[in-house]
Amino acid sequence: MHNKNQYLQEELLRTSGVNPKKCMRCGKCSATCPAYDEMEYHPHQFVNMVESGDIEPLLNSKSLYRCLSCFACIDRCPRGVEPAKLVEAVRLAAIRKQGANHLKADDVPAMLDDDIPQQALVSAFRKYAK
């Protein structure tokens, strides 16, 4: 099968360090994912779809911004596949494009309240903007 995303796929696997071939399709990552219902594509699908080169839908999916980075899928995967690292790699591939920042500085003030810790703000910028 010709894979038009081969370059991107290799890049994702390299930067994430994930080997999707280790996956045994048990679905424990998606079983343990706390953000599952908010995601269009679920952790096991990230592994599957990157492996098969079907990356375009992931790049455009809101799922990228729903991952809580809680690493539950990393710790509980019986095969050591570490799906969250792949989600992160795809998210970076999406937001690193020119003008593709998911979070814009102008939108921030509306999201804040008096108590919100700095941590929430800086991490949101780290995760959603370049």
Binding site: S16, L68, C70, A72, K85, D113, P117, V122
Partner: protein, 263 residues
């Protein structure tokens, strides 16, 4: 005993009490926290991507500063701890990354992840000892049923954090026992509160934190303790039925120094 201390940005602003209690208690326990000079924000989240270099430099600077003083590096905030420990681990295990960082920072001696990173809780357990804390308690928290809340950042990824059993942890429970209270075990203690999407998707964050607090309350907890300002914010804001406090506040109370701390 002197250790390097990385407070982090949240502890300088919204979570000043977490910081103040931590310092005061350390004093009582015979540990001097030496704040790293000119530290910079860790960024609040660790990027697992191997090609993210610039965002990790602030952590490496802090680690390097501690290493120069030949001290372990202690953090209190769960997020800072997670980011710094993971960065340190990457410096140890990813030669290409370490090489890039060292070229960029051009230090006199290259840094290779030599610093030992402790969370304040680990410091209490491994450097001070819970037995010693027990001796120092003047105001035991007897009768309080307290639920430990680990969240995700303290324990995961376990391969790197190596703090405790990620599914069956006991470090905060042991801490709770040391100050005379009774720990409440509940399954959601190591589930995510949704903190990182507090701005992006408040509904999801609310759903997740409610699941945690209601599970703790159902298990009979009267109070929750956490080490993470974002967890605390998230749990409180989303209407926890039981109070959520920083573990350092409880410790200060138990050690009898809560009142004279300028929090």
């Amino acid at each position: 005993m002197k250790v390097s201390y990385f407070p982090g940005c949240t502890l300088k602003t919204k979570a000043k009490d977490l910081d103040a209690y931590a310092r005061k208690c350390a004093e009582v326990l015979g540990v001097t926290l030496e704040e790293i000079e000119n530290w910079q924000c860790c960024g609040g989240v660790f990027s697992t991507s191997r090609d993210e270099v610039a965002t990790k430099l602030s952590s490496v600077r802090a680690l390097k500063a501690a290493n120069d003083k030949e001290q372990p590096l202690v953090t209190v905030c769960s997020a800072c701890h997670n980011v710094i420990k993971q960065t340190n681990h990457q410096m140890q295990t990813d030669a290409e990354f370490a090489d890039k960082v060292n070229r960029y920072m051009a230090p006199e001696a290259p840094y290779g992840g030599e610093t030992v990173v402790y969370h304040y809780l680990e410091m209490l357990r491994d450097l001070v000892g819970f037995d010693k804390i027990k001796e120092k308690v003047v105001n035991p928290q007897t009768g309080k049923k307290i639920a430990a809340y680990y969240g995700c950042l303290l324990l995961r990824p376990n391969k790197v954090m190596q703090m405790d059993d990620p599914e069956n942890p006991r470090i905060i429970e042991d801490f709770i026992r040391a100050i005379g209270a009774e720990p409440v075990i509940y399954a959601s203690r190591n589930e995510c509160c949704g903190g990182y999407v507090a701005m992006e998707s408040p509904e999801l964050a609310k759903k997740k934190s409610n699941a945690v607090t209601s599970n703790a309350a159902a298990a009979g907890a009267e109070m929750m303790v956490t080490a993470c300002p974002l967890c605390r914010y998230n749990l409180v804001k989303n209407g926890s039925e039981i109070p959520v406090v920083y573990f350092t506040e409880l410790l200060a109370d138990a050690l009898g120094v809560k009142e004279d701390t300028n929090a």
